[in-house]
């Protein structure tokens, strides 16, 4: 197995993009990444695209062909293009597939992209499309929506560990604060604990600000063999580890839902492959689709003991400058959550941090960065660990 590196990265602004289409945004992200790696089109050998639901959002399937076509690679070079889907983990999974393609020696230069255009349908349709990440028959048909499922996770966590409303709210406050310095973020406004607590009730205990928004956006990275990376860029970002795992699709079939077994397993697999421990990680982009999800993530990935995620967050240990900066990009809450694109955006944030180009969000001296991307209520999890140093 060869070592793999990221040689280029691109990402659009995230937000409500009324004037831009699905294909507009994915082409923009792809072009940015290709430009960043200074590649010619003919050097690209394959493409993996993460997209949760082109079908429900823009009535479009066959995304692989569409994107290869509109990036000019289909009729010219007939590249293999594959659409990857794992609900909100589609992006992370697309990246993993691209890494495997290069690591295995099958391809040398592969694009991993993620895209979601969510604003072309009414909100009710969007919410229903997102609900298809849960168990439609046993959760959806029984009346559970996504906020409701995660709200149940929050309730149990609060009951068992004493996690408080303020601790949940602090996740959103911190992520908004980080996004102030992220020009791509959907929301760049500072908020307070009161902003969160006084906003509209969504599913008790969640209010509007506990929930990630509906967003349009796309991102792309290019992966290549680590041995060749310096041909393309002076600042390659090496893939140290990758881990993927599943768990039951429904919450009610889990042994315990104060922990996401898929996150724990994916994290462990990534750590093992990378030969590092949680203590070695300098920053991590986690999947904060709801505030409780970040608290679970930082526990499941081993940064804090189970049940301590809340207090650690409120104490500022996950802020930039804290013990382990979490979601320097602003996370899903403030940067936005175009579902299929998030996993790739997380990687782009790590690339910028490890290159030292994260501006005011920079974690000083960052050497090892991690991403954590989840599908549904933990039915899938994908983790990656990156470094700006070649460790083998």
């Amino acid at each position: 197995m060869r070592d793999v590196a990221i040689i280029g990265a691109g990402c659009t602004k995230f937000g409500e993009m009324w004037e831009r289409s699905f294909r507009d945004i994915v082409v923009e992200a792809g072009a940015q990444a290709i430009g960043d790696a200074k590649l010619n089109g003919e050097e690209i050998e394959a493409m993996y695209v993460g997209n949760m639901s082109g079908g429900q959002f823009v009535s479009q399937e066959h995304i692989g062909s569409l994107i290869a076509d509109f990036t000019g690679l289909a009729s010219t070079f007939h590249i293999p293009a594959t659409r990857v889907e794992a609900a909100c983990a589609s992006g992370g999974l697309a990246l993993r597939n691209a890494i495997i393609a290069v690591a295995s020696g099958y391809h040398d230069v592969v694009v991993a992209a993620g895209v979601e255009k969510m604003t072309d349908v009414e909100t009710g349709v969007t919410v229903d499309a997102l609900a298809s990440a849960a168990d439609r028959e046993w959760e959806g048909f029984m009346g559970a929506t996504f906020p409701a499922l995660y709200a149940m996770v929050a309730r149990l966590h609060m009951h068992r560990y004493g996690t408080t409303r303020d601790q949940l709210a602090q996740v959103a406050v911190k992520n908004h604060h980080n996004a102030v310095n992220n020009p791509r973020a959907q929301f760049r406004n500072e908020i307070t604990l009161d902003t969160v607590k006084n906003s509209t009730l969504v599913a008790d205990p969640f209010t509007l600000f506990d929930c990630s928004p509906i967003t349009d956006g796309a991102a792309a990275v290019i992966v290549a063999p680590a041995d060749d990376a310096k041909k393309y860029t002076d600042s390659p970002v090496y893939v140290l580890g990758s881990g993927q795992a599943t768990d039951t699709i429904s919450l009610h079939n889990r042994a315990d839902f104060c922990t996401f077994g898929a996150s724990v397993a994916a994290g462990k697999r990534a750590y093992e492959m990378a030969g590092v421990t949680p203590a070695d990680i300098d920053l991590c982009e986690v999947h904060d689709c709801f505030t409780i999800a970040e608290i679970l993530a930082i526990e499941d990935l081993g940064f804090f003991k189970k049940g301590q995620g809340g207090p650690a967050t409120l104490a500022g240990e996950t802020a930039i400058g804290g013990k382990i900066p979490i979601n320097t990009s602003g996370g899903l809450k403030a940067c936005g959550h175009p579902v299929g694109a998030t996993g790739i955006k997380q990687a782009v944030e790590c690339v910028e941090q490890l290159r030292g180009t994260a501006g005011k969000r920079q974690v000083d001296g960052a050497k090892i960065a991690m991403t954590h991307n989840v599908g549904g209520t933990g039915g899938t999890a994908v983790c990656h660990i990156f470094s700006n140093e070649r460790r083998r």
């Binding site: 409500e16 009324w18 004037e19 604003t119 009414e122 909100t123 509209t200 009730l201």
Partner: protein
């Protein structure tokens, strides 16, 4: 040639239903809607009121303020709730006020800006010499689907403006419009209730058109917001016009008099027109008024208006807009549903 308004009148039905009452029925958070929309209650037509009766009442108030029906050579009524798909409301108004038969008439539709489109047509018809004076009316008994967000604001009311060249109470110095094909809100032929694109009605809908037309107007007139004493923007809720005003550089004080939506809801084709009539009720000679309407589909009409000395002679001759708004009788949701024909009865 000077064109302007020679008479005006408004009408708002007496019944009101509170946001609290509607929220109670649907299990919504009333405070959330009141804060989010900046509306506390909306007007409701009586059992025997509709767009035609409202248009007639507004027209009659214009007559009380000095309009001569025999000199009205054209009547255009803009509405999203004309009683007939085919058979004009305008001729009902004409007959009721004793205008015609030597006149032209037609009904207009352009969502909430049908009335201001009618004003522009009246300006054209009068300046072409086709009519000595012409009446433009915007009136609606707006529809909001049960349980939809629109139900909190879809209200009833209207205003009439007579356009002419002489005896003006206000001159229309400039008008301009910004129009695109933007389906933010629509109602198909035969459908009971309109549908809308949710958040798409905001920036790509209301704000794009209101801000573009307003900026065009400021440039055309060579003015800045502080040159005006009053500003009226289309008011689907209290928030949008407040935000539009702020973005353009108008103050809360400038829009306050014409901001009727918080207390009566959105009368669709009547909304900006009722706001303008509220301003004319208190304006002083020389006051300058900035108006930009918005109609989904979509477009905005802007007007730059200067009030003349004659305004003081007519303001008190008919009931004033805010007096109509304050004359309120509160009803519950059941009575409201009965009035609005939302209760299924066998035909």
């Amino acid at each position: 040639m000077t064109l302007g308004i020679s008479a005006y009148g408004a009408y708002v039905p007496r019944y009101r239903i509170k946001v609290d009452e509607i929220a109670k029925v649907w299990g919504d958070d009333a405070d959330d809607y009141k804060n989010g929309l900046m509306v506390t209650e909306k007007s409701v037509p009586d059992m025997d009121e509709d767009t035609a009766t409202i248009a007639v009442e507004a027209a009659r108030n214009a007559i009380l303020r000095g309009a001569d029906p025999k000199k009205i050579g054209a009547i255009y009524v803009g509405s999203e709730s004309h009683p007939y798909a085919v058979k004009p409301t305008a001729t009902i108004v004409a007959a009721a006020i004793g205008a015609g038969p030597n006149m032209t008439a037609a009904d207009y539709e352009f969502a909430c800006k049908a009335g201001t489109a009618a004003i522009q047509t009246c300006m054209g018809v009068v300046s072409a010499g086709i009519a000595e004076t012409a009446m433009a009316i915007g009136a609606d008994v707006s529809q909001g689907a049960p349980g939809d967000a629109l139900e909190y604001t879809a209200a009833a009311g209207g205003a009439a403006f007579v356009i002419g060249k002489t005896d003006l109470i206000a001159t229309i110095n400039h008008t301009c419009s910004f129009t695109t094909d933007t389906p933010d809100f629509w109602r198909r032929e035969g459908a009971d209730y309109p549908r809308h694109g949710g958040r798409f009605t905001g920036d790509p809908g209301y704000f794009k058109h209101v801000l573009s037309a307003s900026k065009m107007m400021l440039e055309k007139a060579g003015t800045k917001p502080s040159d005006y004493d009053y500003a009226v923007f289309h008011q689907p809720n209290g928030k949008f016009p407040t935000r539009a005003a702020q973005t353009l550089g108008f103050t809360k004080e400038q829009i306050k008099q014409g901001l009727t939506c918080p207390k009566m809801g959105n009368t669709y084709s009547g909304a900006s027109m009722v706001g303008l009539s509220a301003v004319l009720d208190v304006a002083k000679p020389g006051d300058r008024v900035f108006v930009t309407s918005f109609g989904s589909g979509a477009g905005s009409d802007s007007f730059d208006i200067t009030v003349t000395d004659r305004i003081t002679k007519v303001q008190d001759l008919a009931q004033k807009t805010w007096d109509y708004i304050k004359d309120a009788k509160y009803i519950d949701y059941a009575t409201y549903a009965k009035h609005k024909g939302k209760i299924k009865v066998d035909s």
